[in-house]
Point group: C2
């Protein structure tokens, strides 16, 4: 495994994640960093953070991709088997750490990873719609 370094850009990206309660797209991160570093650099930092298991990638029903900090609190071996909620109104994506699907697979499949995304209205938008 290659050694990874702590650079100004990487630290800044981590701070953005720290501040955010919801998952972020590459574009959202880029805007928040305000040209502190190049667009390409952010892609590379995101790749590295995924490899380091610091963040995880979420792909939404509409094809958009977002990233969120991992919550390692209770797991040694880290599997992202929690659900995500994607609001159709405000387009925010949040992790539902406690929602875990149960399911029965046919044998002869080997499951390595699961992606469980629910979409609809989040509590905020549900309230303001009444």
């Amino acid at each position: 495994m290659k050694a990874t370094r702590n650079t100004a850009a990487k630290t800044a990206v981590l701070e953005v994640f720290e501040k955010s309660k919801t998952a972020l797209s590459h574009t959202e991160i880029h805007k928040q960093l305000n040209d502190l570093c190049d667009r390409v650099t952010i892609y590379r930092i995101l790749d590295r953070l995924i490899n380091e298991d610091v963040i995880h990638k979420i792909s939404n029903l509409d094809g958009t991709v977002k990233y969120a900090k991992c919550n390692h609190a209770h797991q040694r071996v880290h599997i992202h088997n929690h659900a995500h909620f994607s609001c159709e109104n405000c387009h925010e994506i949040t992790c539902l750490e406690n929602v875990k699907p149960s399911y029965i697979m046919p044998h002869n499949y080997k499951v390595n990873e699961i992606n469980f995304t629910l979409s609809g209205l989040c509590p905020n938008c549900l309230n303001s719609n009444i």
Copy 2:
């Protein structure tokens, strides 16, 4: 609701879906149609078919988007709550019509749609890996 028409391009796209056992990307459809129609037209046909509930959209963990025919056999009200399997080796996506997750949501969320994708090795690739 607008009236929709049966055009040569739409019919051709439907035939491609009919022949395929797995979900298809826009690019895959485009190649199979062999310049029968424009790239943009395919995007528009896919949009229409989704609105008509003839196909559904599947977005994969890696951010790729595919489409598959809906199987309406048993449902009046059509909800795509079945799972999809995405093979990490051959990148084929198949519908697992019978795999339905059960889960418990926090109240104050309104769930309209779910996207449940499992990835790993499909039966084909699992066998050839032994």
